[in-house]
């Protein structure tokens, strides 16, 4: 597998990940997405306190010649944003599952986690997408 996928996270088809920590989930961009985008030069973050809906655009990630929306994997309220990305957007390239996290969301409905893929399902999904 060319792309890093981590055990214990939940994944979307748009290549976002979510890590549950109690009632809060940390959200970021997957290794696959950062690789496809290339060197990230700018990230537009949501406001803390913003109410987000699963599947709706919540942040924007830009490389030199591409723009990608980050769609929230989960519904809820944004409790924290990763301000490091404002000055060092490349952190997403360097450590997509760690220092490059994007925002934290207080989940409105934890059951939504069940709609997301686990590691095995997501890996299979990437392989299929690569073939196309």
């Amino acid at each position: 597998m060319k792309y890093k996928v981590i055990e214990g996270l939940r994944y979307t088809k748009k290549h976002e990940w979510a890590r549950q920590e109690g009632g809060v989930a940390i959200v970021g961009l997957c290794d696959y997405a950062q690789d496809k985008l290339g060197e990230i030069v700018f990230v537009e973050l949501p406001d803390v306190g913003a109410v987000v809906e699963a599947g709706k655009s919540v942040a924007v990630v830009e490389s030199v010649k591409a723009v990608a929306d980050l769609y929230s994997p989960l519904s809820g309220t944004v409790t924290e944003i990763n301000e490091v990305l404002l000055d060092q957007p490349e952190t997403i390239n360097q450590d997509p599952y760690g220092e490059g996290w994007v925002y934290k969301v207080e989940m409105a409905d934890e059951a939504e986690l069940g709609n997301l893929m686990d590691k095995a399902a997501y890996e299979e999904f990437i392989i299929k997408e690569e073939e196309e």
Binding site: F42, E44, E62, S63, V64, K65, A66, V67
Partner: protein, 449 residues
Amino acid sequence: MGGQHYLPLTGDDRQAMLKEIGTASVEDLFKDIPPAVRLKGELNMPPALSEMEALKHLTDLAQQNRHFQNATSFMGAGIYDHFIPSVIKHITGRSEFYTSYTPYQPEVSQGVLQAIFEYQTMVCQLTGMDVANASMYDGGTAVAEGAVMGCGATRRSKVLVSRSVSPFYRAVLKNYFHSRGLELEEIPLRDGCTDRHQLAAMLGDDIATVVLQQPNFFGLVENMSGLADLIHEHKAVFLVAADPISLGLLQTPAEYGADIVVGEGQCLGVPASFGGPVLGIMASREKFIRQMPGRIAGETVDSEGNRGFVLTLQTREQHIRREKAASNICSNEALVALAASVYLATMGSQGIREVAEQCLRKTNYAREQIRTLKGFNLTFPGINFKEFALTVPGDPTVLNRKLLEHNILGGVDISPFYPELENTMLFAFTEKRNKAEIDTLVRELEGWK
């Protein structure tokens, strides 16, 4: 046949090329056009002209027009007869500049890119703003796109525009706003300037942008003090359409707290050309850079660490963001921006100030002479920078016709745009007008009727 001197293919070339392609005739290459839509017969056009004949025809047309070189112009209202130093056309006439496309391949476009970077810097120096783009089409579209920028930045959809802003700009603004469902309200006049009390009353937390002009359409220097605080209290964006020449002398929009500065750059060494091609200037505070439309050049380094320039922040633009782009603008007025750069480089800090001072002094002189004439009234009190509104005793069209008999292109009749101002004209006085020309104008006005 016309234009053969632009077509290098010979009959033999065409035959050899068809052979390579594997078709019998050029006609075969057009077989994919369905017969139903093929043009039957030939286009009905006037016969082709040789270069000599074309020059003659165009010269004949040009000679039917009066212009700044065979008449003395006092016309303004956004387009002016300023002096154009000779250096400009010799630089913009360098065909490496004028026959190039948008600098998408930076390594062979350093000339245009560096020139844009220098232009952006000079626009910032003039306006006091942090960032500028590579140009918009004209002052009118710059006002419209600037107002839209404010909507994007505030996520609001209502804009206030002063009635002292050029009616030519407001017409474009209205059009840009109407189609996309944005709202526009007009701040009324008080003595030819923006009514500050009305502005205060109209402001609210639903206002995206407030659009003012400095000097305003009537040539009046508006009192901008305190307006920024008022506007920012409502988290609205303060946009000013400024005359770039006036910025050689007037307080900068940055000093009185504007957020976005736009303007018509024709005054910076660009021929009037019947109103185009001219130059839309756009600059802003750094925080609005992501909402700014159009191209922007930025500095970077090459693989060996040498300084170089590229188009940057391109994700704002249509070719990347498509339907979510800040604007659809692609071609702008790059060569005109180059002309403005050469102008500003030639004039320098000292020259631009001197031009501005001469405009102010000559306008003031003319105003003092004309205000004493019987039947002529200054429409508004206040300080005029390079033009003023004058209420004349009769039909402006008739007056202009009379002035023309004395080789004078008179004033711009503004009554059609301000029905409340009957028989009112704008007269402009740039550094190009001398005392004798102004005195002649005054004499002709005096002798009218």
